[in-house]
């Protein structure tokens, strides 16, 4: 049954831990706790004209959470705040039974949909990323006019 949760794709992502670590000098960072399990994700970003130039994460969490953070580490380069938000929303949608977001790696998390208690494990890194980008303020709002405000 939920064995599929720990298919190779997921455990490989977790082992790979792309982006794990800290940045020398981050432009923005955010930490989110899951009070239910005590898990914690910190996301740091460096920005270049509203797009992610570099990213690092520290995860104290389960395989699902670490795998999700690693997928972010792999794909976040160049992302705008709006794009990150869109991925976050689409991923939550997939866990609610909808289609996977544009990043193909995220389809591996589809079996989590049936395990409501684990949704937050997957979302935690994404929510932390969005929070870090929001905390960056106008600098992360996009390459356009918002950056000039």
């Amino acid at each position: 049954m939920s064995d599929e949760l720990y298919q190779k794709a997921i455990t490989a992502h977790a082992k790979a831990a792309v982006g794990a670590g800290r940045l020398d000098r981050a432009d923005s960072a955010a930490t989110i706790d899951n009070p239910l399990c005590g898990d914690r994700v910190t996301m740091e970003v460096k920005l270049d004209r509203g797009r992610i130039a570099a990213l690092a994460h520290e995860v104290r969490g389960c395989v699902l959470c670490r795998a999700a953070a690693s997928v972010i580490g792999r794909h976040a380069q160049g992302l705008t705040r709006a794009e990150a938000q869109a991925i976050d929303t689409a991923l939550r949608g997939m866990l609610g039974g909808g289609d996977p977001p544009s990043w193909p790696d995220l389809a591996a998390f589809r079996p989590v949909a049936r395990h409501k208690s684990r949704h937050e494990c997957v979302m935690l890194p994404f929510d932390a990323l969005v929070k870090a980008l929001e905390a960056a303020g106008p600098a992360a709002a996009g390459a356009g006019p918002a950056a000039k405000r």
Partner: protein, 414 residues
């Protein structure tokens, strides 16, 4: 999904096992005329089924568990919260599960009360249930707040003309019964809301007697806190709800401490979860909450326009019958205007317990006593009253059995 609303008192009654002929032991196949609904209603089969399903196929503690029973129990429990929220037209995050109305009001007295200072005023009324009096007396002792009461008219209504005098700038909260558990009178909300608004006081409504009579649109009421119990609205005992405006919930400190309401605990300090969790310490009453979810689904399946009309007809039949009995006095409104089907009366020279006892011999279940409203009974110069209260499953036979029983009580006692 609840079925399309409909109302047929016979099929409604058929859903309640205890109301069937012969269900109550010792009644020799007769059915009970249950008119003690204001104390606790009866429970329909869908609520029992939900309870049994939980205990036999989904039982586990909620939250924090990932195994299939914990998932199923959490889904059922949080599903019940969602049902209750939908029923009241509010968001899930504003539904705090408590053990009942009394606990809900105690939580407000403890949490909101913690933000009050000596000399701040709380306004209640003379017709309140002890559950909406004693928590404020305890708070008065603890924090030196002042409890004031609106008087009640000879018709048993809260004297809203007194609002101007009683509600001062020091008033922080007005806490009133949405519907009286003794007289059935429905609160005249508009002047109360205006008085609270004028001084910036919060408004708490004790909805214990309102929620058994159909869905409540909380945003339309315009109150700040709302409290009610499951057991009076076809759900199990041991569950209730405190609703509050989200800003109030966010701002209030917790009242009770324990597992589930925390963010982080160290040996020296605790930080707290966001609402509603912050106010739900320890393992919640999971089965009863799931039962409440099934009960609001059942309520949503009733055509309340028709059910209310039915209740009005029965209430009129009851009031007409009572008016014809010499030496009987109804406490509170004697017409259909602004009331629900809760009617209390006193019988010259007959003690309410004796009346209720004679009624029992007629298979009629009524309550005699002060109904946890001693100040109101004092207001009317009596020690207690006999109360008959209706639910959608009651019918004319129930009312006639009541009236016949009272005639016998008059013969025996008065």
């Amino acid at each position: 999904m609840p079925p399309v609303p409909s109302f047929d008192p016979v099929s409604v009654r058929a859903a309640f096992p205890i109301l069937a002929a012969g269900a109550v032991p010792g009644m020799n196949g007769r059915r009970i005329h249950y008119l003690d609904n204001a104390a606790s209603s009866q429970t329909p089969r869908p609520v029992l089924d939900a309870l049994i399903r939980f205990e036999t196929a989904e039982r586990a503690n909620v939250h924090r568990g990932v195994h299939r029973l914990a998932e199923a129990a959490t889904a059922a429990f949080e599903g019940a919260r969602a049902k209750v929220a939908r029923h009241l037209n509010v968001t899930e995050q504003t539904i705090v599960f408590t053990s009942g109305t009394t606990m809900a009001i105690n939580v407000v007295a403890g949490a909101f009360g913690d933000t009050l200072s000596a000399g701040d005023e709380i306004v209640i009324s003379e017709l309140e249930h002890h559950g909406n009096i004693v928590p404020w007396h305890l708070l008065a002792r603890r924090r030196g707040v002042v409890v004031k009461a609106l008087p009640v008219t000879a018709e048993g209504l809260i004297e809203t003309a007194a609002l101007e005098r009683v509600v001062t700038k020091r008033c922080r909260l007005i806490a009133l019964a949405h519907v009286s558990n003794v007289t059935g009178a429905v609160l005249d909300l508009a002047p109360v809301r205006a008085a609270a608004g004028a001084v910036g006081a919060q408004l708490l409504l004790d909805g214990a007697q309102r929620t058994p009579h159909g869905p409540v649109d909380l945003p339309a009421l315009g109150c700040d806190f709302y409290a009610f119990s499951g057991h009076k609205m076809f759900a199990p005992h041991g569950i209730g709800v405190l609703w509050a405006r989200p800003e109030l919930l966010e701002a209030m400190p917790p009242f009770l401490g324990g597992g589930g309401m925390i963010e982080r605990v160290t040996l020296t300090e605790t930080s707290f979860a966001r609402p509603p969790r912050r106010f739900e310490a320890g393992t919640p009453p999971i089965g009863p909450a799931i039962g409440l979810g099934a009960a609001v689904d059942w309520i949503a399946g009733i055509d309340w326009a028709a059910a209310t009309e039915h209740e009005k007809q029965l209430t009129q039949r009851m009031l007409d019958g009572l008016a014809a009995i010499k030496g009987l006095r109804v406490i509170g409104p004697t017409g259909l205007q602004g009331r629900i089907g809760v009617v209390s009366f006193v019988l010259d020279g007959a003690h309410p317990h004796d009346v209720a006892q004679v009624l029992d011999a007629h298979d009629v279940a009524c309550r005699g006593g002060h109904h946890c409203a001693q100040p109101l009974h004092e207001r009317f110069g009596v020690n207690g009253s006999t109360r008959a209260s209706l639910a959608p499953y009651n019918d004319a036979e129930d009312v006639d059995a009541l009236l016949g029983g009272i005639a016998d009580a008059v013969a025996k006692l008065a």
